[in-house]
Amino acid sequence: MSLLSVEDLVVRHGLLQAVRGVSFTIERGETLALVGANGAGKTTLLRAIAGAHQPAAGRVLLDGADLTSVPSHKRVGMGIALVPEGRKLFVQMTVEENLLLGKTAGRPGDWNVDKVLEMFPNLKPRRHAKTGHLSGGEQQATAIGRALMSNPEVLLLDEVSLGLSPLIVDRVYAALQGLIASGTTIILVEQDLNRALAVSDRVICMLEGRVALEGPSKAVSREDVTKAYFGLHRKSPGSVPA
């Protein structure tokens, strides 16, 4: 059975339908990359999986259990952790306090503050600094560490490289490689297509709230993804020149 499955999920922001009937599954240990233009519904999809948005229709299943009516804080306890877009750290609190908050759900596992600091050595001297005073890379490391502290089965990463210098992005992805190697199931949203294809097993390209392309990362070409990204793959029956 798939670890996580999303069935015909529809999410609305008021009148706007951000996610329109998306379905996919992810196996344990798999890494899935979500790509797509701004506004394609990637962030909304991840937030709906994490429970921050209530879907208008469809279901999210974890290990076969229906999560649709489960609030976000309980989903963390069931093993879903989101690293939100824009990091969303508690800026009045220190790095250590932010990390400890990740443990609130109390899932058993071997992640602790020291292990996170081991993974992101740049956080070590900043342990007791307020996260509002950190650099972007340090903040992102804290946000990832906070999600890991809940010992998740599925880690959702929303644009972890946004606003970071290429050097720092390399460092963040090096740390992610370690996670992927250790068998953590990951869904990541990434704007850099090369990186997304290199790090993932499978890729889903979203367009206007729908899945435009899905396939193994090794098999799909950059051109395929680019076409799906811009919607060029659609055969328009009425493509008669006016």
Binding site: G51, A52, P71, S72, G77, M93, L101, A105, A147
Partner: protein
């Protein structure tokens, strides 16, 4: 003079006690609770009722009243504040204002207009004093109140920074949506915060009843003192609240020194001075606040 300063500082402990719940609720829940004073008076009446009806000492009565206040806080958050907060920032203020009127009038209906006090039920504690060096006499009750304020504020500070629940409450106050995403039950955290705030209100009510008198409409002046102490100390800072209470009390003592009726005015003046300094340093500027035209050089 040193006598007045010491008495003023001790009185500041009482103001810090009554401001504590208001400041806590504002800092962690972003709610200005205008029913604060009325709830304190309610707690005082509950203790008075237990003492006069069942001969339960107010200190023992706290064992009943504080859990009751905690339950009231929980219910208040769950059934009133949480719902009204969905309607915007202004609605909880109006809700608590209405609640204050309801509580005041229910107390009036139940207990009448008589002025009450818990002093008769605490024996000699209400007038006993210690002699400190320099033949300064300090009331035992005043010292107990000050110590209670320090312990309460310090305990809350430790609770917020050192415990998992405290961190959850702070995280919820900063960003409830993200708090949910890291596993914090925001509803529960807020309900617990409201319970804690109401427990401090219960304590404040107890000391209000012991050190002075109260009647069903005594809530508003208590709210005013609490509000002034919280604003002087910097709304939302717990240690600041203690400083704020002391500054307020010292200003009142000084006011009474200047003129026999200057007690309240001294406090209000200190409050207004701090308020204007705050506003003018916050970038808004006194000139901008009063809409004075900037004088152009001629």
């Amino acid at each position: 003079m040193s006598n007045q300063i010491i008495q003023g500082i001790l009185l500041g402990g009482y103001y810090a006690l009554i401001a504590c719940g208001l400041s806590f609720m504002f800092s962690v829940m972003r709610i200005i609770n205008l029913a604060h004073g009325s709830l304190a008076v309610f707690a005082a009446f509950a203790l008075w009722w237990l003492a006069s009806r069942f001969h339960i000492s107010p200190f023992v009565g706290l064992l009943i009243v504080l859990p009751l206040m905690a339950a009231i806080g929980w219910a208040l958050q769950r059934f009133l504040l949480e719902r009204s907060a969905r309607g915007g920032a202004l609605l909880p203020i109006l809700t608590t204002f209405g609640l204050a009127i309801v509580i005041d009038n229910l107390l009036f209906e139940q207990f009448g207009a008589d002025t009450r006090s818990l002093a008769p039920y605490i024996g000699s504690l209400s007038y006993d004093s210690w002699e400190w060096p320099g033949s300064i006499y300090v009331g035992k009750l005043a010292v107990i109140m000050f110590a209670a304020a320090v312990i309460l504020l310090g305990g809350l500070q430790l609770f917020l920074t050192r415990t998992r629940l405290g961190r959850s409450i702070r995280a919820t106050s900063e960003d409830p949506d993200t708090a949910g995403l890291v596993g914090v039950d925001a509803h529960r955290a807020n309900a617990i915060a409201a319970s804690i705030a109401m427990v401090t209100v219960g304590l404040a009510g107890a000391f209000l009843g012991m050190r002075a008198t109260f009647d069903p409409y005594a809530g508003a002046p208590q709210l005013l003192f609490a509000f002034e102490a919280a604003v002087i100390g910097g709304a939302g800072s717990l240690w600041g609240t203690l400083i704020g209470g002391i500054v307020l009390a010292l200003a009142q003592t000084l006011g009474a020194q200047v003129h026999p009726q200057g007690f309240l005015i001294g406090g209000h003046v200190a409050f207004l001075i701090v308020l204007f300094i705050r506003l003018s340093t916050s970038g808004l500027g006194l000139r901008g606040l009063l809409r004075l035209p900037t004088r152009k050089p001629t």
